[in-house]
C-alpha cells in the first residue's frame, strides 16, 4: 500500500506567489464574487472553462472545486502586528473577479513571517472543498 504524501502537507491554497516577470502581479490571488455568479453551477462552469485553458499549458491541470468564505471574514483578519488583507473588485478580468493581497499594518512593513502567518489566517477562514469533476 502506498501512503499519500498529503498527510505531510500543510495545504496552503493561497500562496501569493512572487511573479518575477511582472512584479506588479506578485503577492496577489483571485477570488470569485457571488454577487455576480451563482454557486455552484456558474462557479463550476467558470472552473471548467479555466481547466480547458490551463490544460493547454499544463496537461495535468484539473479543476477540482471551490472553497467558500465571506468578505467580512477576510477583512477582519489582523495578525498580532496589525497586518491583514485588502480585498478589491477588479472587474478587468470579469465582473465576478476580486483581488486579495496583503495590507500593511500601522507599525511598519510586512516581514516574511507575517506573510506566511496571514496565509494561515486565510486558510482558517475558508470552508472545506466543494468538489467538482469536469469529466473531460
Amino acid at each position: 500500500m502506498q501512503d499519500s504524501a498529503g498527510s505531510l502537507l500543510y495545504k496552503v491554497i493561497f500562496q501569493f506567489p512572487t511573479n518575477k516577470s511582472d512584479p506588479s502581479e506578485s503577492n496577489k490571488e483571485s477570488l470569485i464574487w457571488t454577487r455576480y455568479v451563482v454557486a455552484p453551477a456558474e462557479v463550476n462552469r467558470l472552473g471548467c472553462q479555466q481547466e480547458l485553458v490551463r490544460r493547454q499549458r499544463k496537461a495535468t491541470a484539473r479543476y477540482s472545486g471551490y472553497i467558500l468564505s465571506t468578505v467580512g471574514a477576510i477583512r477582519v483578519i489582523r495578525n498580532a502586528r496589525g497586518h491583514g488583507f485588502y480585498l478589491i473588485h477588479a472587474p478587468e478580468e470579469g465582473r465576478h473577479h476580486l483581488e486579495v493581497g496583503y495590507k500593511r499594518g500601522p507599525e511598519g512593513d510586512l516581514k516574511p513571517i507575517d506573510k506566511d502567518e496571514l496565509k494561515m489566517f486565510l486558510a482558517q477562514k475558508f470552508s472545506t472543498l466543494f468538489s467538482h469533476n469536469c469529466g473531460v
Binding site: 500562496q15 479543476y63 471551490y66 472553497i67 476580486l98 516581514k111 516574511p112
Partner: protein
C-alpha cells in the same frame, strides 16, 4: 466596455476555485559530498534483515522501533522537500510552487537534527521560495519558515498572543535555541 468596480458588504460570499495535482517522487536536492556520504553511511542500517552495521538510529540515540519509524518518517519528508525543490507543489497550474535549493538544503539539514521525540510538522512551499512548517492546532500553532539559510518563527500563530522571532541564522548544524524550544515534543520524550 470595462465594468466599474463595485462595493462589497461584509456578508457577501467569495469563492476560490482551485486545481490540484501532485506527484511525490523520491528525489533529493543537491547534497554536498560530505553530507551525501554521511547519509549513505547511516542508511546501511537495516533492522528488518538483522544486518546491523550501526547500532544507533541517530547519533546519540538508541535504536528502538519508534526511533527507526521516526527516521523513516523523516526520510519521507526529505523526499518531499526534494520534490518541492525540483518540481514544486501547487494548487495552481500557472505557478510551480517550488522552493529554492538553499531552502531545501537547509530544511533537510534541520530535519536531520530532529530526534525521535520531535513532533514532525506539516509542510508547504510559501510561494516565495521558502518552506512553511506548521505544528499544532489552530489555538496553539507554531509556524517556522525556512528561507534559504534563515529561519523565521512565530509561536501561538494567528492569535493575539503571537510571539515573533525574525531572521534567525541557521548554518545547517546549530539550530537556534528559540526554534528548538518552540518545536513541540512528544509526551514523555
Amino acid at each position: 466596455m470595462m465594468n466599474a468596480p463595485a462595493l462589497m458588504s461584509d456578508y457577501e460570499l467569495v469563492l476560490a476555485p482551485y486545481e490540484h495535482k501532485m506527484v511525490l517522487e523520491d528525489c533529493r536536492p543537491n547534497w554536498s559530498k560530505a553530507r551525501l556520504w554521511d547519509t549513505e553511511k547511516r542508511e546501511l542500517l537495516q533492522a528488518g534483515e538483522l544486518i546491523i552495521i550501526d547500532n544507533t538510529a541517530m547519533p546519540g540515540e538508541a535504536m528502538t522501533v519508534q526511533a527507526i519509524k521516526k527516521r523513516d518518517d523523516r526520510q519521507n519528508y526529505i523526499s518531499l522537500i526534494g520534490h518541492m525543490a525540483r518540481h514544486g507543489v501547487s494548487w495552481d497550474p500557472d505557478y510551480t510552487g517550488t522552493i529554492s535549493f538553499d531552502t531545501a538544503q537547509a530544511a533537510t539539514a534541520l530535519f536531520d537534527k530532529f530526534d525521535s521525540g520531535t513532533v514532525l510538522p506539516k509542510i508547504s512551499p510559501n510561494g516565495e521560495g521558502g518552506l512553511m512548517m506548521v505544528w499544532g492546532q489552530p489555538e496553539n500553532q507554531v509556524l517556522a519558515v525556512i528561507d534559504n539559510w534563515r529561519i523565521h518563527l512565530v509561536t501561538q500563530a494567528t492569535t493575539p498572543n503571537a510571539k515573533y522571532s525574525d531572521d534567525l541564522a541557521f548554518d545547517g548544524e546549530v539550530v537556534p535555541t528559540v526554534v528548538l524550544l518552540a518545536i513541540p515534543r512528544q509526551t514523555g520524550s
